[in-house]
């Protein structure tokens, strides 16, 4: 008799999600579903609001990555009001953003994804968490993690006005200049950040890469998909979080297309599935072929490993050396090993710290000229940044009074949604055999999504019992035979 396994809620991610695994009569996996039972709705209820409110509204999408939404929204307003920020303003924004990327990547490795490696994929759930990590790495190293995150968040607070949901971004600039004392203080934080990121990479090396079982797990076939990759690159095709062109490479690593952010609709298409509130994106030129990988499927991936795959390198020296070491160790570019996202994430943390240091050493960043006044009538604006979890796009249209008439948000994780579904399905099929579904095996299925660091936090402030929702009952062919609504 067939059996259904539900992992709900899945753990160590931002937001809510659940996994449904269906076993056949032999106890092997016939199908899995990765479902996001949350409804965001921001695209709908922001219509009719003044555009200039968006950098304050959209950070509320998420309590983990509000800085990303704030900066992306501010960039969309630059475009909407047709105003170029001053050089100092751009640097201040990127400085705050680099501090955010460093602390966010640190959060994922030590609190969310890392416990699977540092403590072990099959360790008891009570230990497979940040407390288990502390027990393994020692209290002094744990204090370093907490200190680093606090310092980065202090920088975000100082520049952004608030640590969660910053308010500093304005069309054409930022609201407050940096003083010389600020600059020197942030340079010191960045210096500590570089040392910390090197420590995190050494820990990854000692705990993960020196362990043959883990290395085999990363390099093996259970967590592997041949897909396209997408990410922002600078004019030298180096990784850039704040600005640049969007580059896509094929599963073989060739440049497929490189386009300006404002051209994204020519290349990215969204689709919906009846069993999830999350949209699924794919490359328009390749087309949607279902949840399959390979060069004929338009599914692409974003986030750390994707960014490193699409780029020609890192723009800072220490991160570049780690970039070369990773590809040399795991077999060259592009890497398709999903668990290598963890390694790539730590390399990006090092890049973020180095970039933060570069910006803090640049004396132009204290120039008091931090804002250009908008002079044009608003129409349409698109902002793109690289969020920790991938490419984030904000697209606004407004009337001549700046009142929004259309909003489209492609949140970073949406770009990975199809790949996450595939990864869970493949891991479940490879790991669950003859009905053996121990806790450790199910955690290894969860590791397939955790590597992407997905963020479904958009609706976590809602109380689940108060949500209205619909249940579709399907027959074996997937046809809906009954719909149940709860008010």
């Amino acid at each position: 008799m067939s059996k259904r396994i539900t992992i709900d809620p899945i753990t160590r991610l931002e937001g809510h999600g659940k996994i449904e695994i269906f076993l056949d009569d032999d106890g092997n996996v016939s199908k899995t579903y990765f479902q996001i039972p949350e409804l965001r709705g921001f695209e709908a209820f922001c219509v009719g609001r003044p555009a200039e409110e968006m950098p304050r509204i959209t950070p509320k999408i998420c309590g983990v990555c509000p800085t990303t939404h704030h900066i992306c929204s501010t960039k969309a307003l630059d475009d909407l009001f047709k105003v170029e920020p001053t050089p100092a303003a751009k640097k201040i924004r990127e400085l705050m953003y680099s501090a955010f990327m460093l602390e966010d990547h640190t959060l994922h490795f030590f609190f969310l994804g890392g416990p699977d490696f540092v403590v072990g994929p099959s360790a008891a759930p009570a230990e497979r968490n940040i407390l288990g990590v502390i027990a393994k790495v020692g209290i002094d190293n744990a204090k370093r993690v907490i200190k680093l995150r606090k310092e980065c968040r202090d920088v975000i607070t100082h520049i952004g006005g608030r640590v969660i949901h910053p308010v500093c971004g304005l069309p054409g600039g930022v609201s407050k200049p940096l003083t010389e004392d600020d600059r020197l203080w942030i340079a010191e934080v960045a210096k500590n950040g570089v040392e910390f990121a090197r420590f995190a990479l050494k820990l990854f090396n000692d705990v993960v890469l020196d362990n043959k079982d883990y290395l085999d797990l990363i390099a093996g076939d259970v967590y592997k998909h041949h897909t396209y990759y997408m990410g922002l690159v600078d004019k030298n095709n180096k990784v850039n979080f704040y600005d640049g062109d969007v580059r896509v490479v094929t599963p073989e690593g060739r440049e497929f297309v490189k386009f300006k952010p404002k051209e994204y609709l020519n290349h990215i298409e969204e689709r919906v599935e009846p069993w999830s509130y999350m949209k699924f994106t794919y490359l328009k030129e390749v087309g949607w072929k279902g949840f399959i990988d390979g060069p004929d499927s338009g599914i692409y991936r974003v986030a750390p490993l994707a960014r490193l795959n699409v780029s020609d390198g890192m723009a800072t020296p220490l991160a570049q050396a780690e970039y070369e070491r990773m590809f040399a160790t795991l077999g060259g570019k592009p890497l398709h090993n999903t668990l290598a996202f963890h390694w790539a994430r730590l390399i990006e943390a090092l890049y973020a710290a180095e970039r933060m240091q570069e910006l803090a050493m640049d004396k132009e960043i204290t120039d008091p000229n931090i804002r250009n006044i908008p002079t044009a009538t608003p129409e349409e604006g698109i902002g793109v940044v690289e969020a920790p979890r991938g490419t984030l796009i904000h697209h606004y249209k407004s009337d001549k009074n700046g009142i929004l008439t259309e909003v489209n948000l492609i949140v970073a994780t949406v770009n990975n949604a199809a790949a996450i579904g595939m990864s869970i399905d493949k891991a479940a099929k490879k790991l669950i055999k003859n009905g053996d579904v121990s806790d450790g095996v199910l955690n290894m299925v969860e590791m397939a999504f955790r590597a992407y660091d997905p963020c479904f936090a958009c609706a976590t402030h809602l109380i689940a019992d108060k949500n209205s929702f619909t249940v579709n009952v399907c027959n074996e062919k997937g046809d809906i035979i009954k719909t149940l609504d709860r008010e």
Partner: protein, 74 residues
């Protein structure tokens, strides 16, 4: 020649200037736009906006209570 008024009281930077920029699309050369606002940076912002868009700032008046009023000729 028309005189158009715009009350931006209660709005904070950059909103008063964005409202002026949006309203300017409706105005013809010679029209007057009279704006009141209580944002602390309003006077500085409006001076900069007029300079960049080559509009004439006829006057700025302090009305007390943090409120300022200005008139711009298009």
């Amino acid at each position: 020649m028309a005189t158009v008024t715009l009350d931006s009281s209660g709005l904070r930077c950059p909103q008063p200037i964005l409202k002026i920029a949006a309203k300017s699309a409706e105005l013809k050369p010679g029209d007057l736009l009279e704006v009141s606002a209580d944002c602390p940076t309003f006077e500085k912002d409006v001076r900069q906006w007029c300079e960049r868009t080559k509009k004439t700032l006829l006057w700025v008046r302090d009305e007390g209570g943090g409120k300022k009023r200005c008139q711009i000729q298009f």
